[in-house]
Symmetry: C2
Subunit: 351 residues, 2 copies
């Protein structure tokens, strides 16, 4: 994500993600009221919340405040004294934590901490977290699948930057990488979340039954890069060596992963209503600024800083020319998981 607070910063271009959080607010309130087992941990004086892939704010602060308000209400309504709250803001170590920390709400009623590590691994000690939140992060893969960058592989993804619009082999490699990553993610969280604790996850998804999506936005990004390669700004090989580490899972894939893991119960899964971008700018301008805020770093690292303005200018223009976005994106998926005692843990507890 782009740090700071400039024109293309994530802070100033995350309205879309904010919409998804607003849409999830009621679902989270309901989840906390109905599904959070506070009797399991109300003797602990600290309630620990984490936002995985929090980026640099301000959306994370809104989301976290929603959660804390709802938990407070639940404790009060059940006659427990309000716990102290500790919030762990997580993102990878290269996230701009300086911007995040300098914009923490001064009136916050929680102890704020930052956790700079990949959520594909363990981040917290055992059974220490009561509520996990994550919005627009779990679709990021831990790496681009090796095969799609390997010239000798049938899954080599020449001339494309994603599985969108690519061969089925490419899609299979991405799907296998996602399965591996989501298993790591769920295994780590299963260790960290207390029994009775919840995970609320929002991810962009693709509809069930669609084997691989065609995504006009990603395809347009790819075609802008190929145009620049044709102009000789960089080689076509450089484009071949670049793939986006993103995967839009279907609801069925999520369900299968939860089942493989075995430590969580899928309490709810539903598509969130999507708001159209607002404001006076063209839709192309708004979308390209959003994409730039989220992904600029990936393009900069691979193609160099000097190409970035030209690249996003051409992206914005191409988006404006498209009359209709044929997006394979199935919208934002809200997933609610509850950490349950497994058979093995039950046995241990009884003895």
């Amino acid at each position: 994500m782009n740090g700071g607070i400039g024109e293309y910063s994530y802070s100033n271009n995350s309205e879309f993600q904010r919409g998804a959080i607003a849409a999830a607010k009621e679902l989270i309130n309901e989840a906390i009221a109905e599904k959070l087992d506070i009797k399991n941990f109300s003797s602990s004086n600290t309630f620990r919340v984490t936002d995985l892939g929090c980026s640099i704010g301000p959306n994370t602060f809104l989301a976290v405040q929603n959660i804390i308000d709802a938990v407070e209400l639940k404790y009060q309504s059940q006659g427990h004294s309000t716990p102290e709250f500790q919030v762990f803001f997580n993102d990878h170590a290269l996230n701009d934590f300086n911007t995040l920390f300098s914009s923490l709400p001064p009136e916050r009623k929680y102890y704020a901490t930052g956790v700079p590590s990949s959520f594909h691994s363990r981040l917290f000690s055992k059974a220490s977290i009561h509520f996990v939140f994550s919005s627009y992060a779990v679709h990021c893969l831990s790496q681009v699948p090796n095969e799609v960058l390997d010239k000798s592989s049938p899954a080599w993804n020449k001339g494309s930057i994603h599985y969108s619009n690519a061969s089925p082999k490419v899609f299979e490699s991405y799907a296998a990488q996602y399965a591996k990553d989501i298993d790591c993610f769920l295994n780590a969280r299963a260790q960290e979340v207390v029994c009775g604790g919840l995970m609320a996850i929002i991810v962009p998804c693709r509809p069930n039954g669609l084997p691989r999506s065609q995504d006009a936005i990603i395809d347009t990004l790819g075609s802008c890069l190929l145009d620049m390669a044709k102009k000789g700004i960089f080689s076509e090989e450089k484009v071949d060596n670049f793939n986006l580490p993103l995967y839009f899972a279907s609801p069925q894939e999520v369900e299968a992963a939860v089942e493989r893991n075995g430590c969580f119960r899928l309490e709810k899964m539903e598509i969130l209503p999507q708001e159209k971008p607002s404001g006076n700018f063209s839709r192309g301008k708004v979308l390209s600024s959003q994409v730039r805020a989220s992904m600029e770093g990936m393009f900069k690292n691979h193609f160099g800083e000097e190409i970035i303005d030209e690249f996003f200018d051409s992206f914005h223009k191409k988006l404006d020319e498209l009359s209709e976005f044929e997006s394979g994106n199935g919208g934002s998926l809200f997933i609610l998981l509850k950490r349950i005692a497994t058979n093995k843990e039950d046995t241990v507890a009884k003895h």
Copy 2:
């Protein structure tokens, strides 16, 4: 502290502080072996350590590793299974956490988190911390005492930037601010540290019996500023409005503060042996780079970035001209405190 890894970064100019940590290593090992009451909390699977005022590394990583190694040894020697470690790196929100996080040791065996807030207030939930470490931080005041900036006060500190070499009234204001700050610090920690937990603090101090120190380094900083004001680079009033928020407490003052607080037992207090700066540079160069790395931000914020190079150049030259440093600094003081159950807590526990 100066962020990043450049010539005047704290990372590259913190050899002196590293020396103090090395000197404290044995004392900390001894403290953990003899004074840490792990029977009080060995049932918890997480051992939580914090470094308050950690700056941007690398010293903090060395210090934390020492502590963890010693705690592991203690758990093993007493037949307990090794706990998981969570480390909270704390500094104020404007500290360069990005540099800190990107230089975390990859082979670390602890969950790393950053806590961006002033240690004069609460940072953690109740009874959640087992070991507090702090090196060269607790001598920083939460603010410059109001009186020394107030023209109508008898403690107005005209023409000077600290109590060193100033009137007794100025010193009294600083001493009162320190007393207030150390009380806040100890009160917050008393809430956070579990009974049987330890605090190891290293601070620059002044000897007992010396009512206020004359510090050649601070006096030289002040005289460089006055020289620049005389040259018309900024006004003398600008110097009058600037004071360093630092206080070098005596061992007696520390003891009195611990007594006022009442929740800690002073287990040990001793002066650490001091190493001379090494390397091929002049002593003035080494000292001025160290001071610049620690304090540049304060001068930059008040006097502007454009004067910084000239200011530290003249500081370095003046230091080289001084044949002997008449420093009122009484060396580095090692303080070991143990959180004890107070009468009130005992009564609660018995009923």
